[in-house]
Symmetry: C2
Subunit: 316 residues, 2 copies
């Protein structure tokens, strides 16, 4: 008998970009959806999605899409959630689960929460996965495999609904974790939002230089800059909304970051080699733990396109 | 008839870490060395190097290694170059080429220059390639393939010697470029030194948090932080020496970086979404150019270990 857990008769995806299309592919792979209906503002996105076949039908408006849906997933930029929730509230089916994929969670609770009707289960979620690509053609079924999906169910959330959504994400390939929205936002500020801000800033700073040509930046990017450009190529709308909606945690992390960079700056200015060596030594251990936790491969990445022979993991 | 250009009868490598061992493998692959002798302070490194077979013989001291060598390559951390140059000056063969692999160039000219005897050709070089691994077991022949090697020959350098070294690096797989030491140091501060400092600082800042556990940082690293930990796992001694020896350019870049980050910080604090969107949009174009220049693949890297189906390049 097939595994019916985490399955929904009708799933509505509001937004058909990288995450929306990847959820559709992952749900199809695992046989989790009787029918997937997708809503997108742009007609072109709807057409592409139908052509690629990851939705069974499309709807021109979010309220049309959510009618009779058992699972509604908001997959649009976080800044649109309040308006979306207001728009769909009258069309939601009793007993439906409403969830999202936003990279911030306190703002999502603030924006969506007030519009969720009695008898509808609101369970915010954040699949911690992505690429620097966007749009309906960028999705793929394996995006969530072995990645984490963080659920932030509100106090008193329906246990059965939380369990169903948990199984859904597990069968999409994810590991599922639970947090409060506040803790989620702090953790993500550290591991995701600050790194993105820094990467954007580093690439922007390089682009402004008069003495160094863009050609030179591009030619020699393999030496450390390249990974930043990858991150800094992420979707600008999505990231604008993240920073506007996780302000406190990001500003706190940015303050700490700036204090520490000042200490390194001072060490460089005064030639304090011991301080630099100590700072550079302690970070190696964290890298080793990440590899052991299976969140990356040990294979060096600095010359990926050119490499043929992977050496062993030598960090110690 | 085999291509004899860039070939040397006897090559001495002073230092047998990632770069030294990779040069040896690359030179062997291309048949560029009659004999490779390697010097390393640690007996264990010498033993491993002989066992792996990328050197034909080993020497316990640099001066022993350079005797009769036609090409001497300093592959130790930049901070050791002055002492090394002083030590080997009496043992260098007339007509030999002395070069290095240091990531800074004005300091190398300052430290090595005064000790180069008449009749020996000193041509500083920087192969812009590496991984986050170190030690004699981390090298591989393909490290320099399709990467850049920057030569900074002093004014009046012997043309024949420059040509020979150019051919050597080309046959090791590199593209060769020429710069003044000063310009080299500024370019590298932008594309390499600043990104490394930032990555070290970001990982260190995360490690200091009280509210977020190290386990959480490691679990959710895939969301942007992971690339930083990769860079921040690089060799601490090498990087200490780089920052001590490229102070001016790094401090200049750091100043610009901090100014710009303050502007982003202000935009976040005041909710200026347009400023954030503009800043995040202009960086995408640079990424696209890097992919076109062949310095990276378009394949997304955020879930590398888990991915199976590469999507197309959708950046626009």
């Amino acid at each position: 008998m097939p595994d019916e857990s985490g399955k929904f008769d009708r799933i509505a995806l509001i937004g058909l970009g990288l995450i929306g299309s990847s959820i559709a592919w992952a749900a199809k792979r695992a046989g989790l959806a009787g029918h997937i209906v997708g809503a997108a503002r742009s007609e072109q996105t709807r057409k592409i999605s139908q052509r690629l076949g990851f939705v069974d039908s499309v709807a021109a408006t979010p309220s049309e899409a959510v009618k009779n849906a058992d699972l509604v997933i908001l997959c649009a930029p976080v800044g649109t959630y309040g308006a979306l929730a207001q728009e769909i509230q009258g069309s939601l089916k009793q007993g439906a689960i409403v969830t999202d994929v936003g990279s911030v969670k306190t703002a999502v609770v603030r924006d969506i929460g007030p519009f969720v009707p009695e008898g509808v289960h609101f369970i915010p979620a954040h699949p911690v996965a992505g690429t620097e690509f966007s749009g309906p053609e960028s999705g793929f079924a394996e995006l969530f495999d072995n990645r984490w999906c963080i659920l932030t169910p509100p106090p008193g959330a329906d246990r059965g609904a939380v369990d169903r959504l948990t199984r859904f994400w597990q069968r999409c390939g994810s590991n599922v974790d639970f947090m409060t929205p506040e803790h989620h936002d702090l953790v993500l500020a550290v591991v995701s939002h600050l790194p993105h801000l820094i990467a954007y800033n580093m690439v922007g700073t390089a682009a402004d230089l008069e003495e160094v040509t863009q050609t030179e930046v591009i030619k020699y990017s393999a030496s450390g800059f390249r990974d930043s450009t990858r991150i800094a190529a992420s979707d600008p709308t999505m990231w604008r909304d993240i920073f506007l909606n996780n302000r406190e945690a990001v500003l706190e992390m940015l303050g700490r970051f700036s204090e520490n960079i000042s200490a390194l700056q001072r060490a460089i200015r005064w030639g304090d080699g011991d301080a630099l060596f100590d700072a550079f030594s302690r970070t190696r251990a964290i890298r080793k733990q990440i590899i052991e936790a299976g969140q990356d491969t040990a294979e060096p990445d600095f010359g990926r396109a050119a490499r043929k022979t992977p050496p062993g993991d030598k960090i110690s």
